[in-house]
């Protein structure tokens, strides 16, 4: 599989949020404004990419040689948690408004299953180092794409006449469902 197909596959066809339903929490939580959706997407993409690199190294140079693959999950969680801490400190230092708008969802990247899923998929599919990183960037781009589309729609929804009983969470779920249906159209592309 060429790197381009790998990227498109991870970003669109097997979109982490809309096709594999991983990382739904920030998808609903941080999709109120396009700005913060983009920032969240970038933060997640960054964490994903570094995670893919570090977990590849740990898996191939520590876990496999010592036959410790049972410790995969534990060590990956360790990597993700430390990385998220790092990103949090970095964002707090660089941009306080961004830190405030991401709020509780930033530390929650730690428990975001999209990132854990990515680390485990990359190991499962036995990607090489470069493949893994492209896969991670693609997955991050797909996550950002889903968040931004959702945020765009929800910004418009603020102005739309939504039936009273669908307001808030109800219409959000309906939109998320329709988006997932739309992404089903990409199935079988690759």
């Amino acid at each position: 599989m060429s790197l381009l197909t790998l990227f498109i596959s991870a970003a669109i066809v097997n979109n982490f949020v809309l096709s594999q339903f991983l990382g739904i929490c920030p998808f609903v939580g941080v999709s109120k404004k396009v700005d913060s959706a983009i920032s969240m997407g970038i933060a997640v993409t960054f964490v994903m990419t570094i995670t893919a690199a570090v977990t590849f190294i740990i898996n191939n140079f520590i876990l496999i040689p010592f036959e410790l693959s049972i410790l995969q999950t534990v060590s990956f969680i360790l990597v993700i948690a430390s990385l998220v801490q790092l990103v949090e400190m970095f964002i707090k230092k660089m941009s306080k408004p961004l830190y405030n708008s991401l709020g509780i969802f930033l530390p929650l990247i730690t428990t975001n299953c999209a990132i854990m899923g990515l680390a485990l998929f990359a190991v499962q599919k036995e990607y090489s180092f470069v493949d893994g990183i492209i896969y991670a960037v693609g997955a991050g781009a797909g996550f950002t794409l889903a968040l931004v589309i959702m945020a765009g729609i929800r910004e418009e929804l603020e102005l739309a006449k939504v039936p009273k009983y669908f307001k808030g969470a109800g219409i959000t779920m309906i939109v998320a469902g329709s988006l997932a249906l739309a992404f089903m159209g990409f199935a079988g592309l690759i």
């Binding site: 520590i62 876990l63 010592f66 410790l68 534990v74 060590s75 360790l78 990597v79 430390s82 230092k93």
Partner: protein
């Protein structure tokens, strides 16, 4: 399984942990953000229960908002006046302590006053009793008497009297409103402590029915409404209500005219003790 596998996994995981923690502590030094020291100080003064009574996610967030002047220093409904004064000193502004609020039980229909329509042996909570035919008392508006408010109170400020009515301990009550939320009949209201005049009844029944279900019910005779200034009290479906905005704090009190003595002043010096307690 030999002991080596355990050792190797311990060493490798421990090594990874130490590596990451070292990285993070370096990052913490390099990326340290100077925060306003007042945030920590204010957070220390707050109750720290993260109850959300102020409308913010927690005590820390409240402290941050106080420092940024987005919320008043008295925005925490649970803080004692001393704590508010402390926060004021930290912020360097004069203490304008918010008026203390207190929960008031707006019902006097205890076991002696209301007749029973049935014996209830179901789950002993107010909500369950309300669902099950409205409890055992005849009054469809009053206290159910199972003490859900007592359980809801985080400060042990409510207890049930022998008469089967809840009573608020004035000194312990912080006015957080948990009891008012818990009560399925909504007979607990949170009032500023300066509101001392109450119609202690929630019964909207027509006079004849109200008289039969409870001896202390408001029978809608309107004597009180006619006795006070226009707009200070009003009738709402056979129940007299007080308009606290219009009433003022020291009104002419028509309490002695109330035929069922449901209209009372709480904690008023000149009142006999019988009316002081609720």
């Amino acid at each position: 399984m030999d002991i080596n596998a355990i050792l190797i996994s311990m060493v490798s995981m421990g090594g990874l942990g130490i590596l990451f923690s070292a990285g993070l502590s370096i990052a913490n030094k390099k990326l340290y953000v100077e925060e306003d020291s007042r945030i920590v100080q204010i957070a220390d003064e707050l109750p720290g229960a993260n109850c959300g009574g102020c409308g913010l996610p927690g005590c820390n967030s409240f402290a941050e908002n106080v420092v940024n002047a987005k919320i008043g220093i008295d925005g925490c409904p649970v803080s004692t006046e001393d704590a508010v004064a402390e926060i004021a000193t930290i912020m360097g502004i004069e203490a304008v302590a918010g008026e203390k609020k207190i929960a008031r039980i707006i019902c006097r229909g205890g076991n002696d006053e209301t007749a029973k329509k049935a014996d209830y042996h179901g789950i002993q909570t107010c909500t369950a009793a309300k669902l099950m035919g409205g409890g055992e008392k005849l009054c469809n508006y009053g206290c159910l008497g199972f003490g859900e408010c007592v359980d809801a109170c985080p400060f042990d400020a409510i207890f049930m009297t022998e008469n089967g009515l809840p009573e608020v301990i004035k000194d312990k009550c912080t006015g957080c409103g948990k009891c008012a939320e818990a009560c399925p009949r909504e007979i607990i209201e949170i009032h500023p402590i300066s509101n001392k005049l109450f119609v202690l009844c929630k019964n909207h029944d027509a006079p004849k029915i109200a008289r039969t279900v409870c001896t202390k019910a408001c029978i809608g005779c309107q004597i009180c409404v006619r006795a006070v200034d226009e707009g200070a009290m009003f009738m709402d479906n056979h129940l007299a209500k007080i308009n606290y905005d219009v009433f003022g704090k020291h009104p002419e009190l028509p309490t002695e005219k109330c035929s069922t003595k449901g209209l009372v002043i709480i904690e008023h010096e000149s009142q006999p003790t019988e009316q002081i307690s609720i």
